[in-house]
Structure formats: C-alpha cells, structure tokens
C-alpha cells in the first residue's frame, strides 16, 4: 500500500470535569491506534458519543492527548505554539458539521477565504484576490459571491466555501467532520461528488466522519467503526460491508434501510436495543456487551483486543476466534 501519512499510536483522550467538587472522568478515546495512507478516503462511523469527532480533532492536533502519540510523516504532532505547528497547519485541515457557524458572520466570503492565504503567505498581496476567485471557481461558485456575507448563502453553498477554505493551503489531509449531516439529501450528493472530484485532481487524503453508513460506503476506501471511544472494527470498506464480523457492525449495517422496496420489505430487521452506555461508568470487559445479542461470560471480564481476521479486516470481539 502507499505511504503512511498519519500514524496514530495508542492515543487516549480523557476529559476531566469537576462537578460540585466531584471529579468526573470521561474516556472519549481509549487506546486507539490506526494509520491513514496517502490519498485514501478513510471513513469513521459510530453513534453519537462514540468519540468520532474527538478522534478527528486529535488527528489534526486540535485536541490535547492524554496519552499516546500521533505522527505526521515521521514528525510527532507538536503542541500549539511550537515551530512545527505552523508548518503542520498547512498540511492538516478540518471542515465542520454546521456550515452556518463555520464562517464568521461579520466577514465577507472573500475575507474568510483570504485568511489562510495571508496567514501562510501563499502568494503576494496583489494576487490574493485572484487566488480567492480561483478557489471559489474550484468549488463551483460564482466569483461575485466573494463580496457577500455568509447570511446570503444556503447551507450547501456555505459548505462549498468551507471546502474552498480548507483547500486554500493545499493540505495533505482534510478531516470532514459530519460535513453533510446539516444538508438536505440532494445537496449531500453534490458535496460528496465535489469532494470526489477534488480528490482525483490532487494528492489528498480524506477522513470522513459520519453516522450515515450509505454515504461512508459510497466514498470511503477503508472504514473504522467506533463504540464508546474504542475501535470495534476496522478494515476495507468492501469487506466490512459485505462481511461484518463484529455484532455491532452487523447491527449498524442491518439498521440501514435498503433503497429498493422489494429487498427492503424482505430485510430482517434486528434493531439494536438500548442506548449507548454512560461513558462515565462504562461496562466492564467488552463495552458493547450490554447491547450484544451474543454476549457470554468472557465478555463481562475481559476486554477484547483488536485481532486480524482477514487481510484487510481487524475486529475486537471474543467471538471472532470461534468463527
């Protein structure tokens, strides 16, 4: 496979919160290791509260780690303020879920797009305007839109502008944190095809965080399934969707409706019961055991380790050995 650009080694993120003198700890990410390869699209799926967004923020260095390390092309992700920080800011970018709050309402689109260019001295002062216009053009927007304020745009247009802003520094990796969940379905499709086009034209890796399995299947080469901050299953998109090994992945895939009436009617619906457990006091052993339909004694005591089951598939479940 191609070159590793982001190497995440056993990272954990723990949030401490004081509440009436009582300290509460939440493990948002628990001992996660993974690699992102050059020009791949990596999907992260999971329920709300599974630590997807925290992992996304950690990947670009916006989240302080409690333990573990992240390497970007052999360089350890430095903390804010160090010399390497500015260099990394050109390589790693992020796009957020809500396009309506992603752009400063008091600055024009042109000003917002010029900011990364000016911050990193990407071109001479006279060329900033033409650079901004070419960015707008790249995401399929009109050049006269640079003069307007964010409140004049629709969600889809704003998300295009956010993509343009992330692209301004020509990054190696863009984290897309649920970028389509605030948009309607037809706009979602436009944004996804725009991302696909952009990826074809340049050397770019995407981390696509979403809870929409169909979308992730459509765009991602590899998929990570998360549950309560731990890796449940990781592997190539095709294998995971055709042959999910973990009961949680199976339930997730099973819960997604099939866009074909006859097959949808025949689909055996085995909904996931219960809620995601309270992250402040997670269950012992396997985190998923409270909702698993194959739970046995061992799951109560022992935390399953991530094991390889196929060439491109890793699962953390005690049952995989039986299979």
């Amino acid at each position: 496979m191609s070159e590793i650009i982001l190497d995440i080694k056993k990272i954990s993120v723990i949030f401490n919160k004081m509440f009436f003198g009582r300290s509460q700890t939440i493990k948002a990410i628990d001992n996660v290791s993974l690699q992102i390869f050059n020009s791949e699209t990596f999907g992260i799926v999971g329920e709300s509260g599974s630590g997807k967004s925290t992992l996304g923020n950690a990947m670009i260095g916006l989240q302080t780690l409690s333990s573990g390390e992240i390497f970007y092309k052999e360089i350890a992700l430095p903390l804010s303020g160090t010399k390497d920080w500015m260099r990394l800011r050109r390589q790693l970018q992020i796009i957020f879920q809500d396009p309506f709050t992603s752009l400063n309402p008091r600055r024009t689109i042109g000003q917002s797009l010029a900011e990364p260019i000016i911050t990193h001295n990407l071109c001479s002062k006279n060329d900033v305007t033409s650079k901004v216009l070419s960015l707008l053009d790249q995401v399929g927007l009109n050049s006269n839109m640079a003069e307007r304020y964010p409140n004049a745009f629709s969600g889809g247009q704003l998300q295009r502008i956010c993509i343009a802003r992330a692209l301004a520094v020509q990054p190696q990796l863009i984290i897309c944190d649920e970028i389509t969940s605030a948009l309607d379905v037809s706009t979602q499709a436009q944004i996804i095809s725009l991302l696909k086009d952009l990826k074809l034209n340049q050397d770019l890796s995407l981390v696509f965080i979403s809870h929409d399995l169909g979308l992730v299947r459509n765009i991602a080469d590899r998929i990570l399934v998360m549950y309560l901050g731990r890796i449940v299953e990781i592997g190539s998109s095709d294998i995971i969707f055709s042959d999910p090994k973990h009961p949680y992945t199976q339930a997730l895939i099973n819960a997604a409706p099939i866009p074909e009436p006859s097959r949808e009617a025949a689909r055996i619906k085995t909904p996931l019961f219960g809620e995601i457990p309270d992250p402040q006091n997670p269950p012992s052993g396997c985190f998923f055991r409270t909702r698993c339909n194959q739970v046995h004694d061992r799951c109560l005591i022992e935390t399953p380790a991530l094991k390889q089951v196929k060439k491109n598939q890793f699962v953390s479940c005690h049952h995989t050995e039986v299979h």
């Binding site: 957020f96 709050t101 992603s102 911050t119 304020y149």
Partner: protein, 273 residues
C-alpha cells in the same frame, strides 16, 4: 407606511442623541442664557415662555443649567463605560477563550467586585480620595468592569466552540487575531445592549452620589449637583427639582430603551442580502 413606523424610534433616538451631543459640546446654541448669570429680579421665577423650567434661587434659567450640566454628565457616562471596556473586554476574551486557571482567577475577582455595593464602595473611595469627576469615573468604571467582563466571557465561551474560530485555529491564525478579529466583533450585539444600560446606571449613580455630596460638587454643574441644590426649594419652587429629576429619569429611560434598539441594529442577520 410600515417602513416609516419602523424607522420612527430610530429617528427619535438619534434626535435625542444629537441633542445631547450638541448640549455637551455647544450648549450656547441651545439656550440664550448663561448658567452662571445672576438675575435678582427673577429669583425662583415660575416657568414661563422665556424660562420654560423657571429660574433658580439666583434667578438663573434652570433649563440653561440643565443643558450646561450635560457635558459633565456625558463625560461621566462615556468615561466610565469606556474605561470599564478597556479592562473588561480583554479580560473577558482571555478568560472565555483560554478557560482553566486564568478564567477561574479572573471570574473570582469579578464576582467579588460584583458582590460589593457600588454606593458603599463609592463612599469609601470618595472619603479617602476626595470628590471629583475623575474619582466618580473611576468608581463607576470599577463597578462596570465585572459586568462587561462577564458578558464578554460568556459570549467568548459560546463563540470559541463555533466552526469559524475552530477553523481559524486549524489554519494557524495567531491567537490575538482570533480574539480580536473573529470573537470580539461577534460580541458587539450584546455589548451594544449592555453599554447604554450601564450608561443609564451611570447617570443615576452620578445623580445619587452628587445628591449626597459625594459626586460632582457645586459650582460644577451636573444633574446630580443641581438636584442637590434644588431640593432646598421644593416647597417654594416645585418645578425646579421636578425639572432636574425629570430630565435625569428621562435620560436613563431613553438609554435603557436605546440599548435594545442598538443591539438589533448591529445584528448581522438583519443586514440586507
């Protein structure tokens, strides 16, 4: 028609604002009388066409004294709020953005100031430093700092979690730029609501302190010092204290209402598309 109705409050408030500004800078344009002109033939004269608010104990036109008193009033209002903003805004931005220990320390200080009665504090300071315009401005600013700090801190906490601030961080924009370019301009709306309200409080506290002899002292003219003198004549010339008190109350009321108007006016969502 509807547009005209909507614009009516703006017209009223801007006229009043302009009037205040003229009385502060060029009071001679608004009244033919001088505030120190003594006329023994007109002692405590009743209101008439030539003296709408009557005359005081020295025969001076009361309206002229009120108009000439606007300058100090405005200086106290603007000075105290400006001074409080200079300290309150940066502290609020830093506390709200960085959080943690620095936030805790600044918030504890602000809350301690807030829990202390302004009047009591003013009495302490004036007793030790002496009464003057500067002391008054200082005391009011000190009382206003925690109010502005709390507002800016809360707004900063909200805005810091929004996409445009997080993107700026991810882009490597300098923290100072993030604070003053991305966060501060977006706190203007709530700030525009609270500033006139603080100015209204300043007017009332100035009047109160001067009335009990701790603020601006006669012969310097402010509404509070006029009130102090006028109270002696409330039986013989009730229009005299009524006029001074009425103007003070009206000014405070107008300031409070104009806050809401100003807040709405700077809302970017109202900007034409």
């Amino acid at each position: 028609m509807t547009i005209k109705l909507m614009k009516l409050p703006i017209i009223i408030f801007s006229t009043l604002g302009l009037l205040t500004l003229i009385s502060a800078i060029f009071p001679q344009f608004l009244t033919p009388y001088h505030p120190d002109e003594i006329d023994v033939t007109a002692l405590l004269q009743k209101p008439s066409w030539s003296h709408p608010f009557g005359c005081d104990e020295l025969g001076t036109d009361v309206l002229a004294r009120i108009i000439y008193g606007t300058r100090l009033e405005l200086m106290v209002c603007l000075g105290s709020v400006a001074l409080a903003s200079i300290f309150g805004i940066p502290c609020g931005l830093v506390a709200g953005y960085f959080g943690g220990k620095i936030d805790w320390i600044l918030t504890v200080i602000a809350d301690s100031i807030l829990s202390f009665p302004i009047i009591l504090f003013a009495v302490l300071i004036v007793a030790s430093l002496g009464a003057s315009v500067l002391t008054l401005v200082g005391v009011l600013a000190f009382a206003f700092i925690p109010r502005i700090f709390r507002l800016i801190r809360g707004q900063t906490q909200i805005i810091s979690s929004l996409g445009y601030v997080r993107s700026a961080e991810a882009m490597g924009v300098k923290t100072v730029k993030i604070l003053f370019l991305h966060i501060l301009p977006n706190t203007i709306g709530p700030l525009m609501v609270i500033v006139p309200q603080l100015m209204a409080i300043a007017v009332l506290i100035e009047a109160g302190l001067s009335f009990i002899g701790l603020g601006i002292q006669p012969p310097q003219i402010s509404w509070g010092s006029l009130l102090l003198v006028s109270k002696n004549y409330y039986v013989a010339a009730p229009w005299y204290p009524l006029a001074v008190g009425g103007v003070t109350t009206l000014a405070a009321a107008v300031l409070v209402f104009s806050g809401d108007l100003a807040g709405a006016a700077v809302n970017p969502l109202r900007r034409l598309k």
